[in-house]
């Protein structure tokens, strides 16, 4: 079968994105816009944008585990909270910032590795159950070890203030915005490289079929452990960024509902997509705000309805929306074309464009069939 002829918009899009330079220019424009925004916007908008970046990182980790490797996790909030607590402890002990950051990557990753070594023996939903247990166990533990965590009140820190050399022209919130966005950007590059490479291909086959994965020499156990460890590491890094933005953390950060909302945001943004994780972060922060303005008591109602609508209409998430619209409109156009030809045959001459690709396809198929005959 011949590939379908592209319409003009698609052709334009293909040529535009195929060029390396266009892509680089696009990235530069986005980077410049993101760099200028904090200078011209208000403190609260800077805070909100930074929060989006925080959750985008956590959701990226979740997406690597769920979207790419196909292992359901409902415990990402545990690693977010864990990272935030480690950062808070580091700040209180006057550790240097790079040490705190590395600790926020390494300790949650190690914890994730230990959990995964045991849990990855399980299949599918049993694994999801073990991950649910993490926030449920985490909250009472956080309350119990109040020397480290400040108990149920939580712990407040004061750090990541704007350094002296920049104090003249940047406020604290602007400096924190830049810190968060630079680190989040780096983490996204790392995440992208992980899923585009050998590991990403192994995840894809693990998601598709474990038996096939074994046959191809990809150990499901090892790659499940790896996916879980990576997700925990991103969760911990997001916890570090969380403490940069909020300067505060409490057992609420670990809450099971945070995990549920992150899963919902990831699916709505686009599961198994780097851009989708970014959109998920935006959604996570934005929708409660918007829903709260419409009617604060029905936030849950609205976000649940949005999630189900997305699953029904755009299963690939917002990121697949342009493709999905094209698909639906092409489908609709073909149906209109077909009904036009069947209902009033004289119109056929007026709508050749809609019918011709199909008829050529059909004749082609017939020809192939002939070739196959002995």
């Amino acid at each position: 079968m011949k590939p379908k002829p592209l319409n003009r918009v698609q052709k334009l899009w293909r040529t535009a994105t195929a060029s390396r330079w266009v892509r680089i220019a696009f990235t530069v424009v986005v980077a410049v816009v993101l760099a200028v925004i904090p200078l011209v916007s208000s403190k609260s908008i800077n805070g909100q944008l930074s929060t989006m970046a925080v959750y985008a990182v956590a959701i990226l980790g979740l997406s690597i585990m769920m979207g790419y490797a196909g292992q359901v996790s409902l415990g990402q909030s545990a690693f977010l909270g864990f990272g935030a607590y480690i950062a808070a402890y580091g700040v209180n002990q006057n550790w240097p910032v790079p040490v705190i950051f590395l600790a926020c990557l390494a300790i949650p990753a190690l914890a994730g590795l230990l959990v995964a070594l045991a849990a990855a023996r399980l299949r599918g939903l049993a694994l999801a159950m073990v991950t649910i247990a993490l926030p449920i166990i985490g909250i009472p533990l956080a309350k119990r070890f109040s020397d480290f965590t400040g108990g149920s009140v939580g712990t407040t820190v004061s750090w990541m203030k704007v350094p002296d050399w920049a104090a003249g022209f940047l406020a604290n919130d602007q400096w924190r915005y830049y810190v968060v966005f630079v680190i989040a950007g780096l983490l996204f590059v790392i995440g992208r490289n992980l899923v585009k490479g050998r590991i990403g291909r192994a995840f894809a086959i693990l998601k598709e079929n474990e038996a096939v994965a074994i046959a191809m020499g990809v150990s499901p156990y090892r790659y499940k452990v790896l996916a879980f460890t990576i997700a925990s590491m991103f969760g911990g890094a997001a916890g570090f960024l969380y403490l940069v933005v909020y300067q505060y953390t409490s057992p609420e950060t670990l809450s099971f509902h945070v995990s549920i909302n992150m899963v919902a945001s990831m699916v709505i943004g686009g599961s198994g997509s780097i851009l989708g994780a970014l959109l998920g972060g935006v959604y996570y922060q934005l929708v409660p705000v918007i829903a709260g303005q419409i009617d604060p008591s029905s936030t849950a109602l609205i976000s649940g309805a949005i999630l189900l609508l997305v699953l029904f209409l755009v299963p690939g998430g917002i990121v697949s929306l342009p493709r999905r619209i094209l698909q639906v409109s092409r489908h609709a156009r073909r149906r209109i074309g077909r009904s036009a030809t069947t209902q009033n045959p004289p119109d056929r001459a007026l709508a050749p464009a809609a019918t011709s690709p199909e008829s050529t396809e059909k004749s082609e198929r017939k020809r192939q069939g002939h070739d196959e005959l002995p």
Partner: protein, 293 residues
Amino acid sequence: MALFIQLIVEGLATGSIYGALALAIVLVNRATGMINFAQGAMAVLSTFVAFALAQAGVPLLLAFLIAFAFAFLFGAAVERVIIRRFEKGDPDTAVVVTIGLFVLIGGIAAAFFGYEPQQFPSLFPLDSVNILGASVSVRSLGIIIVLVIVMVLLQLLFRTTKLGLAMRSVADNPESSALSGLPVSRLLMIGWGLASLLGAIAGVLVAPQLFVSPGMLDFVLVYALAAAILGGLDSPVGAVVAAWIIGVVENLAGAYVDFIGNDLKIAVPFVVMIIILIVRPQGLFGRKVVVRV
């Protein structure tokens, strides 16, 4: 000794509540191969129906019966309208669908009844009786007895009726059942309706103790999921036994191990669950699934 008996009976009673919801989860899993994270939220909505009726002056037992009927129809409707589209698809998507339902139904309950916890009338008197020197509340005994009756009825339904036979056959092999002329989709609706009804029973049993609010069953659901997984996901008896074990172990560990105390006892069943699953990944009563390529 008196305290010990009391702890065990109370543990069995809370375990029975987890067990009722765990039975619902197992039922849905056997019928459609899904784990329904919205099972608790659906139960809460039905409990709210009973609550509203009782507030309006309907006799308590009648209010419960109407709420159970509502639960059955609601469960069947959810299967027909939403779940059906995702039954044959990717299991991960199905999980996310039920998570969406969990959020949505919780939101519906909150929109109608608010987030404020409210007192719920109890079916059982507040007295306690004396068993071997320990005073045990009638409520706890009542809950245990109700669960045992429910389990017996379910077994009778599945083992002795034609409907039960048909439902088992659909759970076993939907394609062959359809070819033998069973109305598979209607049976799946009935399965979801029954599960929702079981959830409603758990809801009205636990509501006097927890007060009704949209998040009332969130923790019960997590325990019920643990019990269902521990029991092996396809075994109703396993789910109930696991739920009882969870309830009792949690109570005893909270009372007798100083380090655990009242705040950390919630972690005990999960640690036990993780250890058991590592030793027996198929659960206590589950069959080992053999994957054929």
